[in-house]
């Protein structure tokens, strides 16, 4: 069965430091992968997505993610974190078929220290 694992429940980084959020997936075919961000009290916003092609994907707000098939990973990165990046981040895998269902990880809560 498809699944997504985000091993880090909470991460704290200093403002200006680099960030990497981990995501591992289990899926039998070529995965469609997504990263969403959720600010407190808000809905989810798409940061970036990977379907095929270049394994390094650029997203909004300066985020990028790299798809590594050999490691079943799709880690999210940002070279310099801003205080406004404090939020919860969700990785998701799309289930193949005509219904576009997503399987979400449990999320990583990012805190940013001044």
């Amino acid at each position: 069965a498809q699944s997504v694992t985000q091993p880090d429940i909470h991460i704290t980084v200093s403002e200006g430091a680099s960030l990497e959020l981990r995501c591992n997936y289990s899926y039998g075919a070529t995965p469609y992968l997504f990263w969403y961000v959720q600010s407190p009290g808000q809905g989810l916003q798409l940061l970036l997505k990977y379907f095929s092609g270049d394994t390094l994907v650029q997203g909004i707000k300066g985020f990028e993610a790299e798809f590594k098939r050999s490691q079943s990973s799709f880690n999210l990165r940002k070279p310099s974190v801003h205080w406004s990046d404090a939020a919860e981040y969700f990785c998701a895998v799309g289930v193949a078929g005509a219904t576009n269902k997503l399987i979400f990880g449990t999320g990583t809560l990012l805190a940013v220290q001044p």
């Binding site: 997504f34 808000q42 989810l44 969700f90 799309g94 289930v95 193949a96 576009n100 449990t106 999320g107």
Partner: protein, 115 residues
């Protein structure tokens, strides 16, 4: 932002009462979804719709029903609310081709408390 609204945004109810949450979209998207969000579980799919009057179950559908009589509206009903259904409920839409590459756009959420 995609035109998705959810109502109510907050609701407190008592165990055993029926509750209906509404999702309304102005994007004319074909697919609509209901998720619940709970700490430690991320988002879990309750039900989804792939067209008017066409719905199917997600992974946590017990205790929930849905209806979609118009493209723009997707209703989630808790027939007899229980405390385990206290959660934040999100509606999402996606659209064009219906394939796995479509982006899902999320509404602002409804916080439901069942006492």
């Amino acid at each position: 932002d995609a035109g998705i609204t959810q109502s109510p945004r907050h609701k407190v109810t008592e165990t055993g009462t029926p509750v209906t949450l509404r999702c309304h979209q102005t994007e004319n998207h074909r697919y609509m979804y209901w998720y619940r969000q709970d700490p430690g579980h991320g988002l879990r799919l309750i039900h989804y719709s792939y067209g008017v009057k066409d719905t199917d179950k997600g992974e946590v559908s017990d205790g929930y029903s849905v209806s979609r009589s118009k493209t723009e509206d997707f209703l989630l009903t808790l027939e007899s609310a229980t405390s385990s259904q206290t959660s934040v409920y999100f509606c999402a839409i996606s659209g064009t081709s219906g394939g796995s590459t479509d982006t899902q756009y999320f509404g602002p959420g409804t916080r439901l408390t069942v006492l």
